[in-house]
Amino acid sequence: MPESTTSAHRPRLAAVITAYKRLLHGQHVVDRFLDGYGWAGTFHHPAMDVVSLYVDQRGEGDLSQERVDRHPTMKIYPTIAETLTLGGSKLAVDGVVVVGEHGTYPLTETGIMKHPHFEFFEQITKVFRDSGRSVPYFNDKELSWNWEWSKQMVDTSRQMGFPLQGGSSLAVTWRVPSVEFPLGATVHEAVSIGYGGMGSYDFHGLETIHCMVERRKGGETGVEWLQTYRGEGFWTAWQQGVWPQALVKAALCRSSTLAPGLVPGSATFTDTFPTVEQMRALVPDPVAYHYQHRDGLRCTMLLMNGLVRDFTFAAAIEGQAKPFSTQMYLPMPDGRTTLASFFSPLVYNAEQMFLTGKAQYPIERTLLTSGLLIAGVDSAHQGMQRVQTANLAAVHYQPNPESTFWRS
């Protein structure tokens, strides 16, 4: 098969995704490589071409044929291997873009959807091995629903020596205000507050925390244990101060979607800070993942569906009089915007990896957050028991000292 492209210097990418439909991650990510996007005040066209596409689940609403028709440089292949070899016998691309989100896959017994990140990874790395060459690998969102597999993905990338970069757009999107966690600061407690459900948006809440606290003194040291709180237990823990109410308040004060209270007398206010009673009425199924790091840092990821529709962060930083806080702003095409622009910094950072051959932020962050998600769901499944996380205690890493979030 042809090794030739129109431009010898433009990296060629293979896209391997679960589904290519309107407003699914696959569409957001691959479209940005194909059509470009607004970046740093211009309409930016990535200096690379998606030349091959594998879509695991097509069907109604599938956009892949329309995209191929408009971008004939890209061809659809029936298997992942052919997508990487462009129908030949050896790896024929310079980078791989994987989106394992969405689609319909079976659930684990704890209720996490078995997205095929690992299956894709296995097939892709087989081509790498068979070709004696590997290329940079972008993996949207978490690594795998299975810890062993997540770990294996990271280990394999190390062994084979290819950059692996992933995670959530929460780590790289706009911040309102546009602030960075001070590198090397000492932090005792941190919280994130978000919305959505377990096994999906919890990952975003965890990434919100970790893109920040990994910059603390000593870097990331790993997590010793985690405990999930839901239902009445959540509110009891709230009242007992298992996580600091001051940080919750600071984070909520960064939200721009606080739901008005439901109680009489407050339903006519458009922007009001809710009482705990109002929050109880608004949030029928609150979730908290509360966990402790080896260096003593305690973090809490809260999902408060019904109260907010955004992600916020707050931390108690030593030497700062009041909590450090910000919103990780997602321009959300659920009526608020039409374009999920938070995929732009995610794709931009992926481009930088493809161009430089270096991951822009450590994959260990994604390994840790993938593991925390699994631990959170496990704890809930075990009746909200505290779970010891020896596997996560072994994840330690240093952050990229340079900020990689959207600010230009």
Binding site: T42, S178, C253, P264, G265, T270, T272, A314, T337
Partner: protein, 473 residues
């Protein structure tokens, strides 16, 4: 006539202002002491009206600098023009008696003040009543927060007594059912509100800080009088919309003193609607250019296909349009259809998406050019790009967080509170004056079949605040 009392009070006022100046930067948020007494005057207090959105912030607080900030402000009186006008139109008790109708027990002759704002139970919750979207909320708020609901503006300033009993006035005049003129301008009574307050100020020889939401008036002449009057009576006048003070994505401003060659602002909305906010956002950036603001020599409002022709002829820059649109999160058309990104300029789809484009072309006295493009049908947000010597293109989005919270109005509330507490306008009213005049002149150009109009009246000079005033922390 300058009475002795008025002379003394003016002198006291000016020396007080001088004394306060050094304190300005020492944290207005922690103003100690007695709460500032505030009168709020507006058109309509219904759910999601601008009055409700802004006035509530002084009742229940607002998010600011990572905290829920409770202003050291007590709202003591509120005037709602809608209620006053309804009362005016309603039959008098005498007329009702003549026709045999019953007089509602709580209504006085004027129909609104009776029974309200007189017997306060602070913190008392009114019985949960079913509120229609158009329901007035001022009566319920009055009961809950114990402010006086007044039937006219002097009463609101004097709180029922015979002397000014407030320390500041917040006005939010907005469209309710006011008439329009032949240029499509809504005849909002902002000037009447202001004049009524000024009459009280002059009667008593004491003036208090005044905030005017959005444009000063539909008439530049009236707006000019307002600014002159505030200057003459030496009270701080703050005006404008929340667009200049909201968050920006990214967090950038025109470098102070930089040479700006040209700017293109994009926005959406109706004539005499959000165009004001967009012009003001444009102005709050351009006023920072070299030499400060020196005024506008001509404007032209172009409509329809002529807008695109003007772009082709170089009257506005396509590069700047492209840059401004690269900041938008709301492209319409194919993005809505299937989520794709779009370069709206390069693809050439703009003329298909925007059926009725409008270009507000502004020629500044110092040669800087700016254009506001209203692109209904193409986008739904407000973005700007400017060509700045030595800095390339500077572009950003003026972030409007979603309703109903409208968090950007909290940014404005903070500036209002700062102005009231420090007795020093956070930014010059001349900005709003010039923008008011720009809008009037542009609508005049439209009325005159889109002619270019010289604007000698807009030779307005002022210096911007050295520090950027938009939300950053």
């Amino acid at each position: 006539m300058l009475t002795r009392r008025r002379f003394v009070e003016y002198s006291a006022l000016s020396s007080a202002m001088l004394a306060y100046r050094p304190l300005l930067h020492n944290g207005w948020a922690q103003t100690p002491g007695r709460p500032l007494r505030l009168a709020i005057l507006g058109s309509v207090y219904r759910y999601q009206s601008q009055m409700q959105t802004l006035a509530d912030r002084f009742l229940i607080g607002y998010p600011y600098d990572g905290e829920w900030h409770m202003p050291n402000v007590q709202v003591v009186s509120v005037y709602v023009d809608q209620l006053a006008r309804q009362a005016e139109a309603a039959p008098s008790p005498y007329q009702l008696a003549m026709t045999g109708a019953k007089v509602a027990p709580s209504s006085s002759a004027k129909g609104i003040a009776g029974g309200l704002g007189r017997e306060h139970v602070v913190g008392a919750q009114s019985a949960p009543e079913k509120l229609e979207p158009m329901s007035d909320l001022s009566r319920a708020r009055s009961q809950q927060f114990g402010f006086r609901l007044c039937s006219d503006i002097p009463e609101a300033l004097r709180c029922g007594g015979d002397r000014i009993a407030v320390d500041a006035v917040l006005t939010i005049v907005e469209q309710d059912d006011y008439p329009s003129n032949d240029r499509g301008q809504i005849l909002l009574p902002s000037y009447d509100f202001f004049q009524q307050c000024v009459e009280v100020f002059e009667d008593e020889g004491r003036a208090v800080p005044y905030f005017n939401h959005r444009q000063l008036s539909f008439s530049f002449e009236q707006a000019q009088t307002m600014v002159k009057t505030a200057d003459r009576l030496r009270f701080p006048l703050l005006a404008g919309s929340s667009l200049p003070v909201t968050w920006r994505l990214p967090d950038v401003d025109i470098p102070l003193g930089a040479e700006v060659e040209e700017a293109v602002m994009v926005g959406v909305g109706a004539f005499d609607g959000m165009d004001f906010d967009a012009l003001e956002a444009l102005q709050c950036m351009l006023e920072r250019r070299k030499g400060g603001e020196t005024g506008v020599k001509a404007v032209q409002l172009i409509e329809g296909d002529d807008v695109w022709a003007a772009g082709n002829a170089g009257l506005w820059s396509k590069d700047l349009l492209s840059s401004a649109l690269s900041r938008s999160d709301t492209p319409l058309g194919l993005t809505v259809l299937d989520g794709r990104t779009q370069d709206l300029v390069a693809s050439g789809v703009l003329p298909q998406l925007v059926k009725n484009p409008a270009a507000y072309c502004i020629e500044y006295t110092d040669g800087t050019r700016a254009t506001l493009l209203m692109l209904n049908g193409a986008i739904m947000d407000f973005n700007i790009a400017a060509r700045v010597a030595g800095h390339g293109l500077v572009s950003t989005q003026f972030f409007l967080p979603p309703p109903p919270n409208d968090a950007h109005s909290a940014c404005l509330a903070a500036k209002i509170e700062q102005t009231f507490q420090s007795r020093n306008a956070a930014y010059p009213a001349e900005r709003t004056l010039l923008t008011t005049g720009l809008l009037e002149a542009c609508l005049q150009s439209r009325h005159k079949l889109n002619q270019r109009l010289e604007t000698p009246q807009l030779a307005i000079s002022y210096q911007p605040p050295a520090e950027s005033q938009y939300a950053r922390n």
